[in-house]
Symmetry: C2
Subunit: 240 residues, 2 copies
DNA sequence: CGGACCATTGATAATTGTCAAAATTCGTGG
DNA sequence: CCACGAATTTTGACAATTATCAATGGTCCG
């Protein structure tokens, strides 16, 4: 298997762009062409990738690792908007106009990222309608996510919001296990609290409570075991 | 000025699609072609346009009036996601896949709507890359709106959220006035409460409080007068 | 092993939700 | 244009929930 000389072994077939769903409509030669346009960069855990107010001239694609996109609320807390992981892209909001970034983006762990200048990106859109349609699809998904998010975060009961969050994480970051689903949490307690718009202490209390009720088990600071998914589904109020 | 024989005088130049920003890149002949594909329909206040779970085969364009898009939370409240007005479209989320509608849409007042079947819409996308780019732009705007929404509705104090909402409405539905800005509210107290995820009574109390503090004046159930915008800006926490 | 960071727990205060009743507004029909 | 009934909104009292502050306990990583 050939290796991308910039990305190293993490690039399957030497083509990191292949990982990106929006390019999946393209054939090998087209991927090669795009690869040539891509710049690479690595970020350390905690490093800022994009700051609110900046006008980056490129679109970022997460190639490895995960990042958080957030803003600061008036009282100084982080309001987390998205967690982007492998294959996701961001910075695309400002393709059309020339708007400044609406949020900060920071690496949650070591991150490898690909960058494509906006003008190259625009040319791609004009040349490959399929890519435009893929992007529309991605934006639709993101909107759907935001709509659900709004519902989970806007619900009145905190228990329901926390249950939604755990289920969400289980689906995204969970691995099956004999006793349930092991979830590697992308955020700290404080991060989750900010995400839900509640106090850090409240998350602790609710987690303890759920542990008493055998719904979850706290494995470490960064991971929990989901024991009773049906109960959480009920709590979250999402009927399937 | 010719009239659209279906829409009547509300259709400028006989082309209601002209009102829709996503088609603004097109020339007159192209608009004519699209017009031929469009079906029209009117809805009464309170009438359902789309129900969660349905799979409509068309995209809806609001030609006159306004609608609300919402879901029901577990405890039976409406969670309002969007208010769409003249020129907005919805139902586009499901162009790509064949997903069911994720929310209900209901007319807030008498509504005239244009409908375009999804297959026609898809053909347009393939044929006119400019439309695809416009749509990407619209979806980006909607995402930006949702991100802001999430920030206004989530996390912060109820006072800040209400202030944000009023400012938002002032910008969208307000008309200048000698004493301040007259705002024609698109939602009832209950609607606003649901939008913000708080109790109807809390909105009442906060409005009364703000009226005592001379920030706003309640004119009627459906309109208020914004007296002290700077104070609300401060409350909302948005520094400009 | 130690120190920094993160998480938990307890006590208390502040905020908001809930229920019930009264007041106001709205729309319709005379 | 007015009046009346229905719907919506406001207000009050109280209960429930969550935030805050402070102290303790645990975890991670060199």
């Amino acid at each position: 298997m050939p290796e991308c000389d910039v990305c190293g072994p993490s690039c399957k077939d030497g083509l990191c762009v292949r990982k990106v769903p929006i390019f999946s409509a393209l054939d090998y030669d087209e991927l090669l062409k795009i690869s040539a346009l891509v710049t690479h960069r690595e970020y350390q855990k905690g490093e800022a990738i994009l700051r609110e107010g900046e006008k980056p001239d490129c679109v970022f694609i997460v190639n490895q690792g995960s990042v958080k996109a957030f803003r600061y609320t008036q009282d100084g807390r982080e309001q987390i908007l998205y967690i982007f992981t492998e294959g996701d892209f961001f910075g695309e909001q400002y393709l059309t106009g020339d708007k400044a970034a609406a949020y900060d983006v920071e690496a949650l762990e070591p991150v490898k990222s690909c960058m494509l200048t906006k003008s190259d990106f625009r040319k791609l859109l004009a040349g490959y309608p399929d890519i435009a349609i893929k992007i529309i699809g991605t934006l639709e998904d993101r909107l759907t996510y935001m709509e659900q998010s709004l519902q989970s975060r806007g619900g009145r009961s905190v228990d329901a919001r926390i249950a939604s969050l755990i289920i969400n994480y289980a689906d995204t970051y969970g691995t099956p296990d004999r006793e349930g689903t092991l979830i590697k949490l992308p955020l700290s307690r404080e991060g989750m609290a900010n995400y839900l718009g509640i106090a850090r202490e409240t998350i602790s209390r609710k987690f303890s409570q759920m542990e008493n009720e055998k719904l979850i088990r706290s494995v470490s600071n960064k991971s929990i075991l989901l024991l009773d998914r049906p109960a959480l589904d009920t709590l979250s109020g999402v009927q399937k």
